[in-house]
Symmetry: C2
Subunit: 344 residues, 2 copies
DNA sequence: TTGAAAGCGCTAACAA
DNA sequence: TTGTTAGCGCTTTCAA
């Protein structure tokens, strides 16, 4: 347990590092030429280019990103900001987004600087931005009134948001929640369901508002009786959800729709506990799917999105912005409705 | 949906940036002096120091980390590597570790470069290391035979591992799993339990091996009959776990011990489904706790660790290494045994 | 206690 | 097509 260990100094390591100057000297050409061979910018003879590339490959030379950064005012990092209060259910979503981001970023030789920031606690975000540690930022979940968004707008750094924002002039990548929720709800109604409840989470999250809107639009379009529809928001704790479920059942709804997988999962547990059969006694659907719901018995009808694709598109868009290309203010990705046993 | 948007060029933004030269000029002193005031290195008059600091504060000047980096061969980034195949149950653990890491790193003006790497797919890790994007690395979960560890050792970059490694000369920060598992197991035995089963996960994870060892040591110390003890490893899927539980029950164990919260949770679901009462018909304990187990009815007896503290210690240790200070090869953090209703 | 000057490794005008 | 020459913004000898 107590072995001691000492480290070579930084200097010791760095000595081994080969620079663009070394390459140039070895090849009897100038640094500029080497630089051009690497970057592809500027004219250069195909022959020299190959020679340089070959040498570089062989001696596995790598440009020093710090030096590149200093010369080009670039960091080769993008910031990935997720909420500090992420729960276990958010995490897999962010993880998959990140896989997409990472994939795109890697191709451009960029890395991901991660930053967890709590609402109203921008300290870390501020550091990253003011220290110019990143060239652009991707923001995870957004709130209705998001300080982070406002902060970034003020600082005039390229950023995109995964999710939707109520703030104007913010580049957003999101799934088409309104349309998706409208479609799923409509399908349920067309299946003959006449009384239904929606149980949702924090009203301050843009996504929850959006889902609610989709639900309500379907209800209106399908001319459902308003008295047959029950909406319970802010289902944060188990107790909240329990109360909502009870009330929904008391109101004899035929189907409970939950806004996300966490709530869906809680509802399942409550129903199981009380011995209420899905879908025989009450049907269940969710506006967001996950393993938890898919592997349930019966599997739960739900909307399916592709978080990784969100990450990919967000990152591409961010690069467009960083390169001063035009981008759409809002991109909406598609979704799938997965009808499963819980609404049979 | 289709608003167009264009971005100011990098140049436009950078113009506003104030440099150490500007500060020096404004104050009528040299860049060197300003640099000294900021870094605290070298002699400098208290008066000038204050004057510089005040000016900097007022005009909120920030040193350009790229330039600092280039001059000092530092990146001011540390790498945080987590397995690409992390599951929903791993994520909260990593998240909390990261909070601890971030806390320590921030104080040293460091940021976190995150990298998800899959087993046998070191590409991204290689990029980060070979491009010298980080000054040191913290590795998340470790495997018995970990390619990442070997890769990092070869590259002679400071790194620490959260968890344990079978590889020699690797700096490790971990909880004292052996002792913890031995203690919990002993307590169970001393409570009078004579037949018990252990259900564990992937045998290739160091942590699972370690937990098993603790369990076995307790069994030996307490002179339990070997025929009364059943160990089932590699409980990856629901089906695996189901089989283990069935077998354990057939063997009439009095208590099931699970290696982590995921398995514990599965066991709970199986027992509930089959109408087997905890703790009346069988007791349950887990070598790793989480919300899932704590909020269960009855709450599950389990070992409690503090992932954030792991992150804190890991990061501090890493800084020690980066500064060529001596560090212990292995640091073991403590734990708590939480006795709850499931073993009453 | 302060400053001048060189240099970190790379890019980009401008010349040739 | 290639090279020369200034920087990028900061640190760090070395000298004053």
């Amino acid at each position: 347990m107590a072995g001691q260990n000492e480290w070579t100094t930084t200097k010791g390591r760095e000595q081994s590092r080969i620079t663009i100057g070394d390459v140039a000297e070895a090849l009897g050409i100038s640094k500029t030429t080497v630089s051009r061979a690497i970057s592809g910018k500027g004219r250069i003879g195909e022959q020299t280019r190959q020679r340089v590339l070959a040498y570089i490959e062989e001696n596995n030379y790598r440009p020093n990103p710090m030096a590149q950064g200093l010369a080009q005012s670039k960091t080769y990092n993008i910031g990935w900001v997720i909420p500090g209060d992420s729960t276990i259910t958010d995490l897999p979503f962010f993880q998959r987004c990140m896989i997409g981001i990472s994939e795109v970023a890697s191709k451009e030789n960029y890395d991901i600087l991660i930053s967890m920031v709590y609402d109203h606690e921008l300290e870390h975000l501020r550091r990253v931005v003011e220290n110019h540690k990143v060239d652009g930022i991707i923001l995870g979940r957004t709130l209705i009134d998001d300080e982070r968004v406002r902060f970034l707008k003020e600082h005039d750094i390229p950023f995109v948001v995964i999710g939707s924002s109520s703030e104007p002039d913010v580049i957003q990548i999101d799934n088409d929640h309104v349309k998706a929720c409208r479609e799923l709800t409509s399908i349920l109604i067309m299946k003959g369901i006449r009384r239904l409840a929606l149980i949702g989470g924090d009203e301050n999250h843009v996504v929850n508002q959006t889902r609610r809107r989709g639900f309500e639009e379907a209800v209106a379009e399908q001319h459902l009786n308003e008295d047959d529809v029950f909406i319970y928001m802010n289902g944060e704790t188990k107790v909240d959800i329990e109360r909502s479920v009870e009330e929904a059942l008391r109101n004899q709804v035929e189907c409970i729709v939950t806004m996300d997988d966490r709530i869906g999962f809680e509802v399942i547990n409550i129903l199981k506990r009380d011995g209420i059969q899905i879908p025989d006694q009450v049907k269940l659907a969710s506006f967001y799917s996950s393993d938890l719901l898919e592997s349930n018995q019966p599997a739960v009808t739900a909307l399916q999105y592709d978080p990784k694709e969100l990450g990919v598109v967000a990152c591409r868009t961010l690069f467009d912005m960083m390169n001063a290309r035009q981008v759409d203010e809002k991109v909406l990705l598609s979704y799938e409705v997965a009808l499963r046993g819980s609404t049979q």
